[in-house]
Amino acid sequence: MELVKRYIAAVQRELPEVKRDEIGRELNANIMDQLDMLSEQQGGLADTDIAAVLKQMGHPREVAQQFVPPQPLISLHYMPVYRYTLFMVLGILFVLQIVGSTSAWLAGDFGLLLYLKSVASGFLKDGCFAFTAITITFALMSVDTAKATTSQNDNWQPQQLPDAGHSWQHISLQDIFTDLATYVFLLIVIWYPLWLSPEQLANSSFLFTDNAHQLLKWASPLALLGIASSLWQLRKRFWSQTMLLGNIVLNGAFVAVILMLAASDPLLKLEPEVWQGVLQLEQLERVAVTGLVITAMFPLWEVVRDILRLRKLA
């Protein structure tokens, strides 16, 4: 019967402590009954017979999971938003790490390997912290989800559903989180002095000139509006005429700000000695201006797209 004891102990190890004794006691009684019956039929029991019975019962972990089904840490209800939040935050952290490490690399005299190590270690450190914080938050939110979801699902009314509309009117989570990530990233970069320690601040320099940086600071409310708009989209998930109009105005304002930034002269705050022998400063200015004009094309495309969509809805 040593095998039975081992089997029950293995099942109990997979169970919550409060249920171990009770389930173990019951499982033992059931197995012993089964073995008794087998013994009566065969006129005795060998270890191999006991092993066969236990094997038929199933793996201890599976049996334990049948008794107490495992609960997911994050409720399925939150899973899509959790996944996109993780992608968004980790994406932003990765880009920020690239920007930080690249500027340190350009200013310092360390090699490519140290640069890659700086990117990887910095991202891992911040990423682990962000992953843990997000997961704990969603796990706490999931504690009472079952009740909340049931009541929400019971109280729904078909009349509250949005119009069937066009397929493009449904706003995907991916689009919303991409926009959110862009706006949050913009705010973090523009207001970088707020996140850095005095030492880090003393050793860092912003890529743009003070005038250009000032212009970006004035544009911060647009990013805040963008975040508010994305959160509203997350709630509604459906393009209405009002939301399209709001998006046209917001993206139009972004196009104007980016083009104004591109028109700033000088645009970049560069240290000639760092770039000596690599690129001429005028070339870098031209590259930056071209990059900004190309960047402006994205919100401009959204403006044109939304005007066309607005016409279809009119």
Binding site: E26, A29, N30, M32, D33, Q34, D36, M57, G58, F67
Partner: protein, 115 residues
């Protein structure tokens, strides 16, 4: 259809029916192994890893009463339908009869059409 697909669908088909079979068998008190034997004798084969947790879940839902008793030199946990379980069994039995009639008609029609 592959064997795996068939097994999966068979499992889904049997899952709900097993609850009804267990409740119906527990009009009289049974312990785990004797319940399994009773079900087997009635033509319903269910493995222990599924049956024992199922009985516990039904008991936790208040559908079964349970009591530890000594018998044949060993303690056993006996289960029997509770009052709530009896009411539920009656409702589920009606539901099953209706479903069975409807399904028999549908399956009868379908088999005639395929001939």
């Amino acid at each position: 259809m592959t064997t795996a697909q068939l097994d999966k669908m068979r499992l889904e088909l049997r899952r709900g029916v097993l609850v009804l079979a267990v409740l119906a068998s527990l009009k009289q008190p049974h312990y785990g192994y004797s319940l399994r034997k009773q079900l087997q004798d009635g033509g319903i084969d269910i493995d222990e890893g599924t049956l024992y947790p199922l009985i516990r879940r039904l008991a936790e839902q208040g559908l079964l009463d349970s009591e530890w008793q000594q018998g044949e030199g060993r303690e056993r946990r006996y289960y029997q339908l509770s009052e709530l379980g009896t009411q539920l069994l009656s409702q589920l039995t009606d539901e099953w009869q209706q479903l069975n009639n409807s399904l028999s008609n549908l399956l009868g029609t379908a088999s005639q059409e395929t001939k």
